[in-house]
Amino acid sequence: MNVKFFNDLVEISEKTGEDLHKVILNWEMLDTGYSSEKLIENTSKLLKVMEEEYASKKDKAFKTLVNLTGTNGKKMYNYVQNAFVGEKVFKAATIAVTMAENNASMGRIVACPTAGSSGVMPGVLLVLEEYGIPRDRLVLSLIVAGAIGKIIATRASLSGSEAGCQAEIGSATAMAAGAAVYATYGSAKQVSNAAALSLKSLMGLVCDPVGGFVEVPCVKRNATGATLALLFCDMAKSGVESVIPLDEVIDAMMSVGRSLPESLRETGKGGIAITPTARRLIKGLNDKFKISGD
């Protein structure tokens, strides 16, 4: 089963009438030898880590490694009832920020697909869980998200240093949007549309961490990802289609990534990382953290 395009999986599912996650489980078994039972079991463990970490950290302030962030999740947690965008979306953003701050403070996270973008998926999945989607369905949806990510990893990249933040937060958003569609019983085609809409909307996003630390802008971009994922899930399910199919969007993302200068690929030498405020913040930090030399 030689799958190069996400659309191959969608088509097999449509033609055979087999559920998308079953098509994916088959593909994964032939591709990597990973049995369906094992994959479901291990995916369930990853979801458990997300659940446990959020449950134990949800209203906490964090002491992060360089302290450029750490109290945003708590602030948002206390504000949820006032959120104009509505409880579901704001909760997803809150979870995403909390988990990203957990990452920045050396907490346990699930690199789904990377550490910097590790808040997006729990943001979406844990809100779906809170509003009644069965856990088993979430596990299958996380596997569907994994298939989207795997196609991105093989056709393009999931790394900010290779292709910018579009490859990290962008991919995480596409994966989470697809997962949300699948979790809420949308079609395979809608999964693919939601992912394409997500990647298109974050196309070109640069990787510009202040001081090179995974704090600013990374933490708040996780809120962006979770929010957009839910939006594009609903748009896709309303019938909105991406004019450009997911696989072509992925290829376009990579070609944009290749043309990004090195200063915008995780070097901390471009974008918001070189604003006057950023420079002021990291001045001193660097000296403080330098090793006493040899």
Partner: protein, 224 residues
């Protein structure tokens, strides 16, 4: 082929797979060489590891690895306190290792009168490359079980070792060889294996006359 589980995971300690997970896997490899926490270690940090060992948590991750912690143990962030309690002493130094990956560390560790020196790079996504073990150059990922052997430098040494291993139908993925010095009669070899070896095979290898010493290093497991 990359698997879905690697895309949606692993579960790890933040903030970044190259600075914490990768660093930790390198020092975990050293831990596995000793099969325990050494008494002393010096971490020589090269390139960007040198600039980021506090701000990215690389230092704590390195210490945690040598304490034998799992790569997603929530107490990695307290590795400094934990190591103090267990009497493990370490220091960080800067070094220029030349033309190697920017995220590279040389770890020199001792326990009782045993000492090991490993150079490893964190090459992205939590993957690592061990490029030297006890001054023998190699290129291993740590994902496979590894044999580090010191042997008599005589013709047929490699063959006799390979024979024992393949008799037990385990494939050898990679071999690195080196001589300690031209005149010495001792050579080293590092073998990366496709499968774990049974204890009986390990004992058979140890009993070979040409084998002076041998270390069997378990594979690093992404999930733990």
């Amino acid at each position: 082929m990359i698997s879905i589980i690697d895309v949606i995971g692993p579960s790890m300690i933040g903030p970044s797979s190259s600075h914490t997970l990768g660093a930790m896997r390198i020092s975990k490899f050293v831990y596995n060489l000793f099969n325990s926490t050494p008494d002393n270690a010096t971490f020589y940090l090269h390139g960007s590891f040198k600039d980021t060992y506090i701000g990215h948590g690389t230092g704590l991750a390195l210490v945690a690895g040598l304490c034998g912690m799992a790569t997603d143990d929530p107490s990695v962030s307290k590795a400094d306190e934990i190591s103090k309690r267990s009497g493990f002493n370490y220091e960080f130094k800067a070094i220029d290792l030349g033309d190697v990956h920017p995220n590279t560390v040389k770890i020199v560790a001792t326990k009782d009168n045993l000492s090991h020196e490993v150079i490893g790079s964190s090459v992205g996504g939590g993957r690592i490359k061990i490029i030297s073990i006890d001054s023998i150059s190699c290129n291993i990922t740590g994902e496979l079980p590894t044999l580090v052997i010191e042997n008599d430098d005589v013709p047929g040494a490699l063959e006799s070792i390979v024979r024992v291993i393949s008799l037990n139908s385990v494939n050898i993925a990679q071999v690195s060889l080196s001589r300690i010095s031209k005149g010495s009669k001792i050579a080293n070899m590092i073998l990366e294996l496709d499968d774990e070896l049974d204890n009986s095979i390990i004992e058979n290898l140890r009993m070979l006359k040409i084998v002076k010493s041998m270390i069997y290093v378990k594979s690093l497991n992404y999930a733990s």
